[in-house]
Structures are given as structure tokens and as C-alpha cells.
Subunit: 455 residues, 2 copies
Amino acid sequence: MIVLRYQNAMEPHIGAAGFAKADFDRALRAFRPGFRAILRDRRKLPFLELPYQESLFSRIEAYARQVRGRFRNLVHIGIGGSALGAQAMAGALLHRFHNERSKPRLYCLDNVDPEETAALFEHVDPRETLFHIVTKSGETTETVAGFLVALDRLRRADLDPSEHVVITTDRKKGFLKRAAAALRVRTFEIPEKVGGRFSALTPVGLLPAAMAGLPIQEIAAGAILADEQCARKDPERNPAFLFALLAWFMDARRGRRIHVIMPYARALRDVADWFRQLWAESLGKRWSTSGQETNTGPTPVLALGATDQHSQIQLYMEGPQDKLIVFLVPRQFRSDVTIPSSMSDPSADFLHGKCFSELLSAEQQGTQAALTAAGRPNLTIEIPQISPRTVGALLLFFEMAAVFAGRLYDINPFDQPGVEAGKKAAFALLGREGHADLRADLERRLAVDEQYTIR
Amino acid sequence: MIVLRYQNAMEPHIGAAGFAKADFDRALRAFRPGFRAILRDRRKLPFLELPYQESLFSRIEAYARQVRGRFRNLVHIGIGGSALGAQAMAGALLHRFHNERSKPRLYCLDNVDPEETAALFEHVDPRETLFHIVTKSGETTETVAGFLVALDRLRRADLDPSEHVVITTDRKKGFLKRAAAALRVRTFEIPEKVGGRFSALTPVGLLPAAMAGLPIQEIAAGAILADEQCARKDPERNPAFLFALLAWFMDARRGRRIHVIMPYARALRDVADWFRQLWAESLGKRWSTSGQETNTGPTPVLALGATDQHSQIQLYMEGPQDKLIVFLVPRQFRSDVTIPSSMSDPSADFLHGKCFSELLSAEQQGTQAALTAAGRPNLTIEIPQISPRTVGALLLFFEMAAVFAGRLYDINPFDQPGVEAGKKAAFALLGREGHADLRADLERRLAVDEQYTIR
């Protein structure tokens, strides 16, 4: 399923920037107890149960069948982990111009941008729209705001929310749960112990996928295949552990704190964007597990091949030695275009009869070879082709890699305490009860110092 | 026009991570000769002439008026600097769902992804399509490949290329120039001395903008306003120089090599993506101007507010002290939504009657205050609102900042020698004449080492 090629991160292939075999073996020995502990406690990782919940998939599919034909639009309202998984699956598996061709059109309101929100509600007719409201806590400000607008637009059009809203949230608590009960709206659950960035394979991501007609059982089947690979007890054969080890090594031992994920397939761009959250929020931490201040974590960067060769590769080739490049490559494509000999010219003739897949592959390989020749480490994650199975596999593979990386970085990969301060400050600025004490400090801090302002 | 607030990069506000006033004054003195030399030689910067070419704008507008109503689709084929400027203007100034509502629909083929290319040519009917082919050299492989397919699809449909193709390329040389002559296709020019990433205000970006009905004279007028700001002779009042100085300082003196550009406006996302190329390709360099090996250059990262607060802020708050955050903020929005009191609940009532603009602003200010309190430097670039003028201003402002930064980093901001190696390798793999000698070395380098492969 997942193939990991890491020769260009090893000293024999890449030189001094790479992992020497002796150090590699030493690291494997050192981390073996941690590696084993994670595998032993696999049942404590709630997201690993998700691909096996067949009865849930049937319920989601039954719901999707029941409502799909009735709506022209599905508006998914959620942010962060409540949006990125759905976007990753839709981006990878729907037609590139889906919304201009097929129903239901999919929209994701994952921001509180006033212009975007106004444009969306101007664009969709509530009579033809199903709103999927997603928040783990049931209280996420951005999502609640979008929900309140959707509810208002439905009522103004004399529509019954129970016919136009479906809510995915916690089983018991939160505003959205209370709202669902009051409005008699259909709900789906996010399991209590599954954090937002690990929730793609819950109704959070699977409900919109099913609504769009994607085979969610196949997505889960792919995750199961990756789960089997990532449960292998030999660390050297376990792709998630090895990926985590190499990423950690490049950061902690080689100062390569920037991890560039570079899919060579437009359809995988949103998978890479989902990975950005997983990697940043899981590993970017102030405190180690033993309470030492560590301020650690790699910075994930998304680059798209071949497009970003004309934007970022100059920097990756010649800039500081602070990056690990991770290529994400399908071996085959679902469709292709042959370059016709519609015009002859010395600078074009070499292209005639070639396929775009050959062209893209040559660009990926050319870039990989050039980076390697310049002593710049890179990894390749390969999938057979983009499909429901391989997308499910990638999600689970990266999730397990984040768990292993959490151990290597010696931090808790499941929390996100650093987002609280900004959230509280925003509450205080909005005048939310219980945050008044913050306000004075904030106003002082936000006061404009004209000495340092250029107009 | 452009307002730069930099108090949170200064020691009195941010503490030790910031620029102390004495060091700041010393840096201003040290760089004054370089600053003055750039201003003195402004006429040598060809991109600065672009906003003043009124007769060109008239020609572009006349062409756009003539063809606009005739086509349902405009397919822009170009990559890197030949695509990002057009995308920035369209993304900022067209309706968020333009292609689902208005004609001409705009598509940008900026990759050689076989699936995306197949999907696009399946999606657009050549009879209803104008193809805008853009390449400075006239020979860019990706663009030539797309052009050959477009030409073939037109001929198969018995359509005259001269009616369905417009080419923007060099005035004299290159395959596309020869093709235009052979096909009697209308052409526009990219001035010889204007590099791709500085070419947004040439027909490269302005032709699609005009085709979409955008007022390109206004875009240019905004660039002129920014040009006036960025020509100020007092470095402390010059926003482009100050921005460059602070960015350079955070990198070179504080180890903050990651420059996060974080627009709080969905419509500015593509402007930020355009900035990614400008910053990475201009400053990421191996050699200094005096020929020392320097391997320098900040890594630009794009984050979108408020969305990425739920993805990247955990890392920015708690991770390594290796980032400078640059907020990009419109003071007013073009439209807004009031949050209705459609449902009462303790966790929602504080939102009732608030506008999304207040919500987004509170989130931006909350994030800024939290980062500042955590000793993490940040800058704010403010514009009155998103408009043709302010978008034009932002483009020119950042271009001038890249020129000043080039001086501070002591590199040539106008070249991109590091992209050649990968390009040549791709040519060799595709069997292009004159690259055979590379092939053996490449095949050795790309040979799979099964020892470092996990399946």
C-alpha cells in the first residue's frame, strides 16, 4: 500500500547530511522500548478503531442515500480538524471541477471571513441546501457563528431546520448537542477520545464524503491496510515509525526544522494541507512529557509539484540547509493526456507523443536527483494511485507517524494547549462573559505605538 | 495606502527577541548607502516602469472588450511567475464563486498534472474557450505542453487558433513567438528585462484581469501610490525598506528563518501565495554578490487567518523561536454578515448582533496579542480594504521590499540559477537532445536501493 523510500536521507546516498548506518542502528536500539510500548498499547489509540466501525459506515451511507438527491448544495461548516479531513478526501477523490459539474456541490465554510461568508450565503439557496455543522466541543466560536447564520436563513425561508441541518458533535455535551435536541435535528457523534486532527474517519469527514458519493467503506479499507503496515513489530519494516524517525532525526540531529511535503499530484494538495495541521499541532509543543521546557516541533510546509518548482525550488536548492523534502507520489494516474505533435519546433519536438504522466514523473525525478546531488535530503512516499483506499491509507499512515514522532520528540502529540491564549484574548475582545479581566492587559498590548507605524 | 506596524518586532514591546532601538539605529546607518543607491538607481528597476504604461493598458482593455463577450472560458496556461500574479488579482478581486456564477470562467493550468489537465480539457468546450498562453522564454516545458494540447483540441474542432489563442511572451525570441507568427495569433509582450516574478503588472497578469472585467488602470494606480511610498528617501518612513530590514534582522540576527505571511482575509490568500514565490526565489541564494558561498534566504510560509489558528498557531505559539509572523489585514471589508440571535445559549449569546468582521478582527488581534505576550515577534501590514488599488499597491510594495532585502542579504534578487539542475535532469529523462550525457549519472542516482525501501 504505502511505499517509503528513504535512501536519499541516508549517508551512503546523500553524504554527511544523511543518517549514517551506525547512528541509524543506534537510534533504532535506543527507541525500541518506546516503539514497542506504542504498539503494545495500540488499543489505547482511539483513532485506530475508526476504520473498523462498519455499522457506523452503514448508518452514514443510509443517511447519505436518503438525503443526497434532495439537495443541490452541501455546506460543511467546521474549522481545523473539523474541516481538513473532509477537504482532503473530497480534493483527492472528486472531479477537479466537481462543483461546476455535479450535485451536490460541496462548500466548506472553515473561516469567519465576512466577505467569504456573505458570498457563500448569497450563492446558495437555503431551499436547496443541507448544512453539516461540525464541532467536537459543540462550542467552537467560528462554527457556532456559521450555524447561527444558517439557522436564520432557513427560518427566513420558512424551512424546517430538521430537514436542512445535520450536526456532528460530542455525544453528550455542548451547545450544538443542545441545539440538535431543541431543533430535532439528526446528529452524528465524534467519539469522545478522538481529537479533531485524528477525526477524519469519523462522521466529521465521512459524512460529507458519503454525501458526495464517495465509497467510504473503501476509504476505511485502505486505512486498515495501512494500519497493518504500521503495526509491524520490526521497526525497520514499519513505514510510519521509519518516517517519524527520519523526520525527527533531520530536525533534532541535523537542524532541518522545516519539513516540506511536496505531492506531485494536484489532487493530493488537500491531503498535504491536512498533514500540515497534523504535524504542526501534534509536534509543536512547549513542554516535554517530563515537564522540561523544550519549544520543539518541525514546521510543515506545503509545496505542490511541479508548480512550485517555479516558486520554491530555487530556495530548496540553494538556501539554508534547514529542510527535509518529502515527495508524495502516485505511481499511476487515473487519467492522462498525450502531447500531440500539433506544431513542430526544435524546442517542442522532444515532447511529441509523450504523456503528461511521463512529464510530471520526469520533473519529480529530476528535482529529486538535483536535490540529492546538492546534498539535500529527501524522502519519497509512494502510493499505487490516488483512490479511496490509498487516501484512507495515507491518513492513517500519517496519524501513526505523528504518534511515533510524539514519542521521539518526547512530547504529548494529542493536546494543543497553545491555542488557548489567543482564543481567550478573542473572547475578551468580543466581550464574552468571564473574560473581562484580560481586557485591560489586551488593550494596553494592542494600543498602537505611532513611533513604530509607517503610513 | 500601505500601513506597516512594527512595534511587536521592537525590543520595548516584545522584549529580547526584538530589535533594540540602538541596534536599529545602527542598522539604519549601516545600510543607508545601499538604501540610497537603490533609490538613486530606481530607473534601472524595469518593473517600476510597469504601472505607468497607460497606452499598454488601453491596448489590453481594447482587446479584452473585443473578445470578452465571445467566450465562456478563459484558460490561462502558464506556471510560476506566469501564473501567480494573475491568480493573486483574480483571487482578491473576483467573487469567491466566480466560475459558478459569471462569464468568462477563469481557469489556470499551472501544472502538468495528467489528471488535472485531462479534467480541464474535458470540462471546457474549445468552441467557447480563449487560451492565454504565457511564457517569458517562450519555451517553458510545462506551458509548451499545455499549448500543444490546446492547439490540437482547437484543430480537432475545426477552429481557427487565431480566434482562440492569445500569446504573451518575449518580443523577439522563443518557440511561442514563432508559433504566434505561424498561426497569426495576437501577441502581447513581456518586457525583456522584467523577470517572471516581477511581471504581474504586464499583460501576464493584466490581460486575464481585464478579460475578467477588472479595472486594470486602478490596479496600476494603486501600484503608483505604493511606488511613491516606497521611494521615500527617509528609510524610517519607507515601508518597503523597513519591512525588508525587519525581515532580514529577524532572520540574520535572531535565527528566525521562517517568515509566515498570514492574511486575515480569504481573498488575499493568492496574494500571499504570489509573495511566497517572490520571497523564496528572490532571496534563496547560494552565492553572495561578492561570490562567497552563503546559502541564505528565509522560507516563506503561507497561513490563512482565522482558519490556520486551528492548524498552525499551536506551533507558532509553543514551537521553536524560528518564525516571524507577518499579518496582512484589511481595515474594512467589502461585505459583512451580522450574527443573528437565531438561538439562545450561554455559549452563543455573546455573538448575537456582532458582525463577522468584528469576529475576524478579534481573532486576529487576539492571536497577535497572544504571540506578543509569548515573546514572538510579528508585523502587521494594513490596507484600507481589498480593492484594485490596494492589490496593485501590495504587489509593488512587496516587489520593492524584495529588492531592498536582496541588498540586505547581499545577494542578487533577480536571478534563479538553482532551478536549472532539476530542469536539465528532467530534460535528460525525457530524452531531449543535448542532455544525454546527464542520463547515466541520473539513472545511477535514481536507481532504487531496496535496502532503504519499505513496502
